[in-house]
C-alpha cells in the first residue's frame, strides 16, 4: 500500500517543531505501524536524511514505550491496542496518516516523536510502592484476598504506564495512570497500611508535575491499550476524600 505520512519533526526540546510530509510506497499490510516507520527510516537514511525518532522497546504491547498519536488518537484507531501492535491492514491504500508525539506540558518532546515521561516515575516514587522488611519471603497465601479485590487489583496492575491517557485527555490529566497505580496497591491488604499516605502523596505529585484536572470526558479509558476503566479514577476520588479527612484529624495511615 502507498501512504502519505504527516510526521512531527522537532530537532530538540528547545527547538521549534513542524510537520514533514513523506510519501511511502509499497508498504505491506502485514507490517506493524512501527515496522512501517522502520521502513520509512531506512529510506530516509538511504537518501541521507535524518531518521524519525520514536520510542519503542518490546513491540509486544507490554512495555509501554511506544507512544504515537496517530490521526489524533494515542496508539491509533484500534481499541485496546498499542501502536506497536497496530497493523497497517487497518489503514487504506492512499491514506494520509498524521503522526504526533504525546502532547502534555509534563511530557516535553525530546526529539521528533520521543517524549520524556519521567514525570510518571516521580508519581510512582512518591507512593506507588509498599514498604516490605527484608528477611525470609512471606508465604504468598498467608493473607487471604477476596477474589473481587484480587481481580480489581489485577485490572489496575495491567497499566503499562505508556501515558496514552494523558495524551488523549483534552486536559492532559494523568488521573487514569495515577489512579490505576494507586488502586492496584490500595485494594490489597499489603498496600492498605500505607493507603492514605500513598493516595495523598501520589495526587499531590501528579498536581505538582503540571498535569491537568480530570473532567470526566472518558477519553483516557477509550484509548487505554490495557482497557483500564474510569472505575479506577472513581476509586482514587473516593480514597483521596477519605484520606484528606483522616489527615485533617492526624489519622492518615
Amino acid at each position: 500500500m502507498n501512504l502519505k505520512l504527516k510526521v512531527w519533526r522537532q530537532p530538540s526540546q528547545e527547538a521549534a517543531g513542524k510537520f514533514e510530509i513523506y510519501d511511502i510506497e509499497s508498504v505491506s499490510e502485514d507490517s506493524s505501524f512501527l515496522e512501517m516507520l522502520d521502513i520509512l527510516n531506512e529510506r530516509l537514511l538511504e537518501k541521507g536524511e535524518g531518521p524519525v525518532h520514536f520510542d519503542h522497546d518490546c513491540r509486544e504491547g507490554i512495555c509501554g514505550m511506544c507512544s504515537l498519536t496517530i490521526d489524533g488518537i494515542p496508539h491509533g484507531p484500534e481499541r485496546a491496542t498499542t501502536a506497536c501492535q497496530l497493523h497497517m491492514r487497518h489503514f487504506k491504500d492512499g491514506d494520509t496518516i498524521t503522526i504526533e508525539p504525546w502532547r502534555a506540558k509534563p511530557f516535553p518532546v525530546v526529539k521528533d516523536l520521543v517524549v520524556d515521561r519521567t514525570a510518571f516515575e516521580r508519581i510512582i516514587q512518591s507512593g506507588g510502592y509498599v514498604s516490605v522488611n527484608t528477611g525470609a519471603a512471606p508465604d504468598g497465601n498467608a493473607i487471604p484476598i477476596p477474589k473481587k479485590d484480587a481481580d480489581f487489583a489485577m485490572d489496575a496492575a495491567a497499566c503499562i504506564g505508556c501515558g496514552a491517557c494523558v495524551a488523549a485527555c483534552p486536559n492532559a490529566s494523568a488521573m487514569l495512570f495515577t489512579s490505576a497505580k494507586a488502586s492496584q496497591l490500595n485494594t490489597l491488604p499489603q498496600g492498605r497500611p500505607e493507603k492514605d499516605r500513598r493516595t495523598l502523596a501520589m495526587v499531590s505529585t501528579m498536581d505538582a508535575e503540571g498535569f491537568g484536572n480530570c473532567t470526566n470526558y472518558g477519553e483516557c479509558e477509550a484509548v487505554c491499550p490495557k482497557e483500564i476503566k474510569l472505575d479506577m479514577i472513581a476509586k482514587l476520588n473516593r480514597d483521596f476524600a477519605v484520606a484528606s479527612v483522616k489527615n485533617l484529624f492526624g489519622k492518615a495511615g
Binding site: 489524533g72 502532547r103 486536559n171 498535569f211 491537568g212 479514577i233 476520588n237
Partner: protein, 245 residues
C-alpha cells in the same frame, strides 16, 4: 501532609464542582416545581402568587439565607470552573493538529460554553424577575398589587385585605416579550446539555460511580436534563401561544 496542599489539589476542585453542581441540580428541580403552578391545573394565578408570597415571608430570614447560599454556590462553581479551565489549558501548551476524540460526548466538551452562557442567563434572570430592574421591565412600578388569595377568598389581616405582588402577571408579561422568551428557551437548552453530562459526572467526581452505575446515571442524567428543559420551556411557550394568559 499540609492541609493547604490538599485544599488546593485537583481533586478538591472537582469535589467543589460536584457539590455545588448537586445543589444547583436540586435547586433547579425545586424551582421548576414551583413554576409549574402557573398552570391552572396545578393552581393558577392565585396559587402562584400565594406561593411567591410564602417564599417572601419565610421565618428566620430563611429567604436571605437561601439566596446567599445559592449565590455562594454559583460563585464557587464558576470560580472552580475558571481554575480548572486555566490549569487544563496550561497542561497542554501545544495542541494536536488532529483533535479527534473517541467517546467524549458533545455535552462534556461544551461544559465551559454552556456554563458561560448559563451564567449570563442567571444574571439576566435575577435582574429580570428577582430585582425587576431591567430597563423597560421594571415590574414593581408597572404591575398593580393584588389581594393574597387562599382557597378562593382574600386573606384578611387585622380587618384589611393582604395585598401581594402579582408575580403571575409579571411572568405572563415577561414571556410575552419574544426575545426574552427565546433567550430563556436557548438557556434552558444549554442547561439541559450541561446537566446531561453534569448529573452523571458529579457522581464520578466524588467517587460514587462505577461501570454499571455509569450506564444508569448517564440515562438518569439524560432524563433529568430533558425533563428540566421541557418543563421550563413549556411556560414561555404556553404564554406565547396564549395557553396561559
Amino acid at each position: 501532609m499540609q492541609v493547604t496542599t490538599i485544599l488546593f489539589s485537583s481533586l478538591v476542585k472537582k469535589y467543589l464542582m460536584a457539590v455545588t453542581g448537586l445543589i444547583g441540580v436540586g435547586f433547579v428541580a425545586g424551582h421548576l416545581l414551583g413554576n409549574l403552578q402557573v398552570y391552572s391545573l396545578l393552581g393558577g394565578a392565585d396559587a402562584f402568587n400565594a406561593y411567591a408570597y410564602k417564599l417572601h415571608h419565610l421565618p428566620y430570614g430563611l429567604l436571605w439565607i437561601v439566596r446567599i447560599v445559592l449565590l455562594a454556590t454559583v460563585a464557587v462553581h464558576v470560580w472552580m470552573a475558571v481554575l480548572l479551565t486555566i490549569e487544563n489549558k496550561r497542561a497542554r501548551p501545544e495542541g494536536y493538529a488532529d483533535n479527534s476524540t473517541v467517546q467524549a460526548t458533545y455535552a462534556s466538551k461544551t461544559m465551559r460554553w454552556s456554563g458561560v452562557i448559563l451564567l449570563a442567563f442567571i444574571i439576566f434572570h435575577i435582574a429580570h424577575y428577582t430585582t425587576r430592574s431591567v430597563p423597560g421591565m421594571k415590574y414593581n412600578e408597572t404591575i398593580e398589587k393584588v389581594p393574597l388569595m387562599k382557597e378562593g377568598k382574600p386573606v384578611m389581616q387585622s380587618g384589611e385585605v393582604v395585598m401581594t405582588f402579582d408575580a403571575y402577571t409579571m411572568v405572563v408579561q415577561g414571556f410575552s416579550n419574544l426575545p426574552v422568551s427565546i433567550f430563556y428557551i436557548v438557556a434552558m437548552g444549554l442547561l439541559c446539555l450541561h446537566l446531561t453530562h453534569g448529573v452523571s459526572s458529579m457522581f464520578q467526581s466524588v467517587g460514587l460511580r462505577n461501570h454499571s452505575w455509569q450506564k444508569r446515571l448517564d440515562k438518569i442524567a439524560l432524563v433529568y436534563g430533558w425533563g428540566i428543559f421541557l418543563g421550563f420551556i413549556s411556560i414561555p411557550i404556553s404564554i406565547l401561544t396564549g395557553v396561559v394568559s
